[in-house]
Amino acid sequence: MSASRRIVITGSGAVCGAGLTVEAIWDAVVNGRSAIKEISSWDAARWPVRSAAEVTGVDNRTLVEDRKLHKLISRTDLFGLYAAGSAIKNSGVPGHRETLAAEAVAGFNDRSGIFAGSGGGNYSSNYDFFPLLSAAGGDMQKFGRELSENVNPMWLLKILPNNVVCHVGIRHNLKGTNACITNQCAGGALAVAEAVAALRAGEADRAVAVGHDTPFEPETVLHYHRLGLMSPDMLRPFDRERRGTVFGEGAAAVMLETLADARSRKAEILGEFLGSGCTSEATGVLDIRPDGDGLRRAIEIALADAGLAADAVGMVVAHGNGTRASDASEVRALRAVFGSSPPPATGFKWAFGHLIAASGILDLAVTLTALQQGIVPGIATLNALDPELAPLPVSATAQRPRSDIALILCRGFGGMNVALLVRADAMAVS
């Protein structure tokens, strides 16, 4: 494939309970430290679920310096702006833009896109109406009359699902093709896939992809728990004792460029994006096929997109959300694709929780470091592999990848499956 169609990653950024940089998050993962702790943002002592990977001790101004903006956006947007800003800065694109002739800058900005996977609305954003509901006491006419005294006039703007697209665009002068994907867990991973598709089709020369979410709030925790999806304490993917998932929060982003552009500006290349696949199982909001067939198809589509055979894959970063059904069907999909010799597999959610819309893209950012270091990190919370899932090459301790190519899996409500393939051999692509 020509250098104009090959797409590389030249910057990344992330924030979650495990750290404020990809390096810090990698350090936690590779050293077996989990950020899952007791819930601190409300008194959860009586709750059936008492743990989460919260982002604590971080000032909002560390995330987004412009204090005026804090009033106009939600917590999830702060994370998204921070991660996208980090990826853009780390890529060196802004510095490169400064070297351009003044008349070339507008065209450069028009060829710079942004693709977000957004968690969309939070329950708590509607809580801004509580003072009005209290004042109105069930009287809709009073509600209408006293609306403007009780609710921030900018309320709608604060809760827009596409705020990160908007404000990253304004702050970094990105004016090209864009999307805000609100496809629950699949959002962040699909943002990467769509950004790559836009670059391959020549619709833009560079694009930042970002996923952000704050699923961790009382109503969501309660509903997930009632549906049997939550672990009361730890997240143990593929373990015999796994009891469900644990929420995290945060964001991750990557800067994607054509190899030709990255080379011509002598950018540092973190990895090459090779392919993606996306399928629906047509099973409704909650159900998933027990045989993993939708995920199998997503992986096979990604391999075909990348022009690779299954045995080229050197490691698998599984979705591994720790629920009984998802982990089991995921292993069936891996077996269907890789037969009796699957590559070493791992998953990261035990370390920073399940970030829903940000999960797939955070896994991607961490995977690039894993490939560069030649380490498949262990699943530190894995005590005993579920015998029904054996044999499966997962381990509590680190393994070695079989090649420089990783497969990243991301699954979500709606029977969604996304598979991403990346290579992180700087020598091979630069």
């Binding site: 900018m154 509903h223 996306c278």
Partner: protein, 432 residues
């Protein structure tokens, strides 16, 4: 590279404030009939805006027999199910066991997941003396309804429609405010060109006609307050325009690979020929007075479709009827169309339907396809006093009979996302 795949529109479905199916909607748009009226679905009598363009006399059960599925469907999901069903029936093709993995789904989904009554229940159990106490949720009396939780998920509409219609290929949901529907159809076009699917059900759905949604727009001062004359309230490009009319509804298209549609003898409304997509990066609600942003979207769409302004006969404008949007959109149209601006017919069908937010671009894409089929540019209703700042060739007074070789549909969103779709008359498509 293989030659780029061409995409045909072979099915249209609509549930709109002027009709619960596409033929009724199209007839009322041609006649310039308004769907706006005093809001009836809740007591809005003390809001600054008390009018809206509601879906009327809609009976989901007459279209979707699956009662259990409807339980999982919110108001706007029901519109989506009905419009999706109509589009598939109209196309005369639907996912079957041999083809369902080659069917994809792309939707502009509304942003409001939580029903007002559900919020009131949380308030009743968790708020004491103005303080929010989450542990009220653990109260055994709290109606923690898993079905309501499912309805509130951002991709609940995607989940319901892919399940109901059996779509197992690429599926996505997007939300870029008022640009959502256009961007969803643009995404579908690109997914088909990438060869990932051979068929797509693509569209949008939304309903913000509830106390929270109406509050949100009243607070921003974005809505017309002409409460005594609802049918005249939405008047895009009129000098006296004073805001949009909030609508609701859904629109879906069936898209097929061109040659396959031809081979099966499908009726082809139009070619979905191009997609342009830009970000204004100016301000969150304001558009740049110069039209910067929408200009790039329209130019890309034309280039993507292999069109020049010379070949365009009709533009279905975003035309919200807010002072700023319409002025800025006209500036963009002038910049893009150049010497052709006086010839190209422009109208905003929001003058009749109101603003369907995330569904707007999807319904208006269907309107463009129907306009091409029938050779009719639908009227921009309520234009009594043209704004000199909106000096373009607006379809005024009555719908205009004219051959439409190609059309554009603009959707410009809060947050600065701009979508422009291009459509081509089937007879203008060069033979393969």
């Amino acid at each position: 590279m293989n030659p780029r795949r061409r995409v045909a529109i072979t099915g249209i479905g609509m549930v709109t404030p002027v009709g619960n199916d596409a033929p009724t909607t199209w007839a009322n748009l041609r006649a310039g009939r308004s769907g706006a009226a005093p809001i009836a679905c809740f007591d809005a009598s003390a809001f600054s805006t008390r009018i809206g363009a509601e879906i009327k006399n809609f009976d989901a059960e007459s279209v979707i027999a699956d009662r259990k599925l409807l339980k999982f469907a919110s108001r706007s999901h029901r519109f989506a199910l009905a419009a999706g069903e109509e589009a598939l029936r109209d196309a005369g093709i639907r996912p079957e066991s041999a083809t369902r993995q080659r069917w994809g789904f792309s939707v502009g989904a509304g942003m409001m997941g939580v029903a007002f009554d559900e919020l009131k229940a949380v308030h009743a159990h968790c708020v004491r003396d103005g303080e929010f106490n989450p542990s009220g949720l653990l109260d055994p009396q709290f109606p923690a309804d898993p079905v309501a939780f499912c309805r509130s998920q951002t991709n609940a509409g995607l989940a319901l429609l892919t399940r109901h219609f059996g779509i197992e290929g690429y599926a996505t949901a997007v939300h870029t405010a008022c640009a959502s529907g256009g961007q969803a159809i643009g995404t579908a076009l690109k997914v088909m060109r990438r060869g990932l699917t051979d068929f797509m059900l693509a569209g949008g759905y939304d309903s913000m006609l509830n106390p929270l949604g109406l509050s949100a727009f009243c607070l921003l001062g974005a809505l017309s307050t002409d409460n005594d004359t609802p049918e005249r309230a939405s008047r895009p490009f009129d000098a006296t325009r004073n805001g949009f009319v909030l609508g609701e509804g859904a629109g879906f298209l069936v898209l097929e690979e061109w040659n396959a549609a031809r081979r099966r003898g499908a009726h082809i409304y139009a070619e979905l020929a191009g997609d342009g997509n830009s970000l204004s990066s100016y301000r969150i609600t304001d558009s740049h007075p110069s039209g910067d942003g929408p200009i790039q979207a329209m130019q890309q769409s034309l280039a993507d479709a292999g069109l020049t302004p010379e070949g365009v006969d009709y533009v279905n404008a975003h035309g919200t009827s807010t002072p700023m949007n319409d002025r800025s959109e006209c500036a963009a149209l002038r910049a893009v169309m150049g010497g052709h601006i006086e010839r190209v017919a422009v109208s905003s069908t929001k003058s009749c339907m109101g603003h369907l937010i995330a569904a707007a671009g999807a319904v208006e894409a269907g309107v463009c396809a129907l306009a091409i089929r029938d050779g009719i540019a639908p009227v921009n209703a309520n234009l009594a006093q043209p704004d000199p700042d909106c000096d373009v060739n607006i379809v005024r007074g009555a719908s205009r009979r004219m051959r439409i070789r190609a059309a554009l549909s603009n959707s410009l969103g809060f947050g600065g996302s701009n979508s422009s779709l291009a459509f081509r008359h089937p007879e203008e498509v060069p033979a393969a």
